[in-house]
């Protein structure tokens, strides 16, 4: 109870749509404070501008004495984030964690990392190599990935498109939510269920 007091407080704070900070986190299932979905708006003036990046957040039992576990679920081209798995290399999420930090400050640190990559301490060697050797190519790849993978989904439009293929609204919405708004995966599931 007392330990989740802090989490409750934090979620009330970080759950609000905060246009100024551009970071947010909400519980995946209402009532479960340990599995969160974070979102970071791509910082202006970077290759990630205009993108919406989703982060899987798991709160360990020992929180805040252990850091929250964070991982990008949106594909991103960045030297400190794995282009394959979304794993993040950021010291405060590892040995530099402090219980004075919060979910919000951790997300803000990630946002800062998107602004200033640290190729000297890479998570993805291939991306870091490109960042150091061919900055132009890096920038255009990162932009391309933002445009391809990090576009905010208009949920209503997606539901309508799936409905047009002959499914009812409720099952279309459920299938889309289950598959992270991947329309073809949702349709496949709906077809399989016939």
């Amino acid at each position: 109870m007392a330990a989740s007091g802090r989490l409750n407080k934090e979620l009330a704070e970080v759950g609000k749509d905060d246009k100024t900070s551009g970071v947010k986190a909400v519980a995946v299932t209402p009532g479960n404070l340990r599995e969160l979905k974070g979102t970071i708006l791509g910082p202006e003036g970077t290759c990630y501008e205009g993108g919406v990046f989703e982060i899987d957040i798991t709160i360990p039992k020992q929180y805040p004495f252990e850091p929250p576990k964070m991982k990008f679920t949106t594909k991103i081209w960045h030297p400190n984030i794995s282009s394959q798995t979304g794993a993040i290399c950021l010291d405060i999420l590892k040995d530099q964690w402090s219980p004075a930090l919060t979910i919000k400050t951790a997300l803000l640190s990630l946002q800062a990392l998107m602004c200033s990559p640290e190729p000297g301490d890479p998570q993805d060697a291939e991306v870091a190599k490109m960042y150091l050797s061919d900055r132009k190519k890096f920038d255009s790849t990162a932009k391309f990935w933002t445009e391809s993978y990090a576009q905010p989904v208009n949920e209503d439009d997606a539901i309508t498109r799936v409905c047009e293929m002959g499914f009812d609204r409720d099952s279309a919405k459920a299938a889309l939510e289950k598959h992270g708004w991947d329309e073809s995966a949702a349709v496949n599931q709906l077809l399989g269920g016939l």
Partner: protein, 133 residues
């Protein structure tokens, strides 16, 4: 930092003389004819006191559990002496239980400034040194 005394042991007692005067005023109206002064002997005294930890302002929270210093840290049942506030040599304050759990998890630094944590004065010692500089 605003200085704040822990006041649990300093309940206010009205001085003897003043108390008698107040009582005389109250009772002289009710018995104007007899002129005799009523005496009241106080047999019991119920003091009520408010206390705060001598650590920053009243609405300040512990940086670890984010509960107020006057509140209860996770794992402690009651606020107050059960749940003391401790200072590091760096000057940062936390609930004792909170910083102890942190130090038990193989960390050695202050959660705020990352200096090596060393226990400094407790709030009680601070109170004494502030009163008798």
């Amino acid at each position: 930092m605003e200085s704040r005394k822990r006041q649990s042991d300093t309940a206010v007692i009205v001085p003897q003389q003043q108390r008698q005067q107040q009582q005389a005023m109250q009772f002289s109206n009710t018995t104007p004819s007899t002129r005799s002064r009523l005496r009241v002997r106080i047999k019991r005294f119920h003091g009520v006191a408010k206390w705060t930890w001598n650590a920053g302002s009243e609405d300040e929270v512990c940086g670890i559990c984010q509960s107020p210093f006057e509140g209860v840290a996770p794992g402690a049942k009651y606020p107050g002496d059960e749940c003391p506030v401790v200072f590091g040599k760096c000057g940062h304050a936390f609930h004792l239980q909170c910083v102890a759990t942190w130090l038990n998890s193989q960390r050695t630094t202050c959660p705020y400034c990352r200096q090596e944590w060393e226990f400094g004065q407790s709030s009680d010692q601070r109170r004494v040194s502030e009163q008798n500089p």
